[in-house]
Amino acid sequence: MPDLLLDVQGLETTFKTPDGVVHAVNGVSFTLKEGETLGVVGESGCGKSVTMHSMLRLIPTPPGKIVAGKALFFGQDLLKMTTEEIRHVRGGQIGMIFQDPMTSLNPVLTIGKQLEEPLMLHVGMSKKQAQERAAELLAMVGIPNAKDRLKDYPHQYSGGMRQRVMIAMALSCSPQILIADEPTTALDVTIQAQITDLVKRLRDEIGMSIIWITHDLGVVAGLAHRVVVMYGGFIIEESPVKELYANPTHPYTIGLLGSLPRVDEKERSRLFSIEGAPPVLYNKPTACPFAPRCKWAMERCWNENPMLEPVAPEHRVACWVDTKTGRPRS
């Protein structure tokens, strides 16, 4: 299958902590097609970032450990690559942008230096070529006077501009996949709109695939083609974007959408709230991780962990209950 860029199967990651082993990712499988934008949605601690970091082998080992799984990138398992090979993939074929642009940039190197380095390292450009390309990249992400601003240091850029630099850096080696980990969370709404617009434009121009990790269901709605929702280290729902917002099926997804007030809200009513708090997983769950907070929970939910099952074309849900009827799913 040539159009499957990325095929992750049964990924499991644990972390050793003084209080015990935390099972952060518990068998996550997903795919990414060419040109597709995949939204990964979940609250803090649901395992969304750890999944991506594990895949790229960016988690510190120890305390982290990838226990099981495969991550096939063009048929090659990222988890089995040598350190040298994976380094070539990261920043080369797979670019990443992170939440906080200030901590991901080196404060004592100029923006130009930081942009040129990967170009010389991964693409093998000469110093002069790299400088020209760096200026092009900065201009592409919408920074005025790009050539002069290469000489500036990160602190001379605003938050939104730093995030643009991160995007320029991630795109510098023309990656096939861009992984964006909450890239707009630290930014104001007007700047967030600038950045998502920029990413959409670049996506259509370059034709790359994107994995966009976020807790904000609003941002994903306007950006992604397909969405996976994570909870307690599992994918609990997976669906094309329109289907997900029209027919949210897992109780957690329903709760998340219900707990959001909307700018286009008509009637004022109490928000739907999910009681309780997300779990910390010291044991690998043997039951549904959401059962303690679920109003539909039945006996089976406390004993067996549901697998993802199709409910509509391309729409899969891990839940024992049919949330439309409240009865067990047949």
């Binding site: 709404v189 709109a193 941002v219 306007g222 959001l260 708090a277 997300p278």
Partner: protein
């Protein structure tokens, strides 16, 4: 204004808060950060006034200055008949009981070495309204009010989750039975599913005790949900203030329009339909704000007039205030 019969609880008039910038060996003042630069608004008893704006627009400074955590550079703050700016010592201390604050970061705003009972009970002790056993009773009652198990009163903040900690913060703010609470981004640090819990709690408490809130936030959808009226701030000034439905359905100021259009809607169909105004550039520095209208450097419809004089904050429709030259 629209609700003439409602009692004004707080009246802010031409409030200014400039933070001096010192430079050089002699620490001479070379300028000032005009965090809040002449704002006026009223808050009615029992309502929630939302105060929105992007980071650095001065919304938190406004809240802190109202509570006299900073001494304002200029202006008046009338609260229950007294001008807070002129109050000192014991008078101010007594006034403080009536106004409380809930902070953004439930991790930083609770002392990690104090138990929940000490944290929630401290205001009672400091203001001599209860002692000994009575404090214990009151704290247990307050914890119940905010939906925490009273048996947890001997625990420390780190034993609670973010949402629970914010509930502790709410309990502390309620301890002295205030009439006015400033909520400074009370839910920004919380997970989405927990945000709804805290907002619902705030709404229930408001109904129960007829509380008045100044709700400071950058999340426009949450502000729309909780507020009766909303004020929009940009670079130290209020650019628009009106009823929440009016603001969201027919915003007049170009900044409000852009801000609203930038908010993502969690619905792919609606999101695709609407027209978006994307603002260029960044917010200018409040130490050196643009002349005339503060927003003109990013405004899509700015004219030469906007650079010359500062637009007056005027009532263009009953209860709808706007500061823009171009709004008729």
């Amino acid at each position: 204004m629209s609700n003439n019969n409602a009692e004004i609880l707080l009246k802010v008039e031409d409030l200014k808060m400039h933070f001096p910038i010192y430079r050089g060996v002699f620490q001479r003042q070379v300028g000032a950060v005009r965090a809040v630069d002449g704002i006026s608004f009223d808050v009615y008893r029992g309502e929630t006034l939302g105060l929105v704006g992007e980071s650095g627009c001065g919304k938190s400074t406004t809240g802190r200055t109202i509570l006299q955590l900073y001494k304002p550079t200029d202006g008046q703050i009338h609260f229950e008949g007294a001008d807070l700016v002129t109050l000192h010592g014991e008078e101010m201390r007594r006034m403080r009981r009536k106004m409380q604050m809930i902070f953004q970061d439930p991790y930083a705003s609770l002392n990690p070495r104090m138990t929940v009972e000490q944290i929630v009970g401290e205001p009672l002790m400091v203001h001599n309204v209860a002692t000994g056993k009575e404090i214990e009773e009151r704290v247990k009652h307050l914890l119940e009010l905010v939906g925490l198990n009273p048996a947890f009163s001997t625990r420390y903040p780190h034993e609670f989750s973010g949402g629970q900690r914010q509930r502790v913060g709410v309990a502390r703010a309620l301890a002295l039975q205030p009439s006015f609470i400033i909520c400074d981004e009370p839910i920004s640090a919380l997970d989405v599913s927990i945000q709804a819990q805290v907002v619902n709690l705030l709404e229930e408490l408001q109904e129960q005790f007829n509380l008045t809130y100044l709700f400071i936030a950058h999340d426009l959808s949450m502000v729309r949900h909780i507020s009766k009226r909303v004020a929009v701030m940009y670079l130290g000034v209020i650019v628009e203030l009106t009823d929440r439905d009016e603001l969201y359905s027919s915003p007049l100021h170009p900044y409000t329009q852009a801000l609203l259009s930038a908010v993502p809607i969690p619905d792919p169909l609606l999101d695709a339909q609407r027209k978006r105004t994307i603002l260029e550039g960044d917010v200018p520095s409040p130490a050196n704000p643009p002349s005339g209208c503060r927003f003109r450097t990013r405004c899509p419809i700015a004219q030469s007039l906007c650079a010359e004089s500062r637009p007056e904050f005027r009532e263009v429709k009953p209860g709808h205030f706007v500061a823009c030259h171009l709004v008729k």
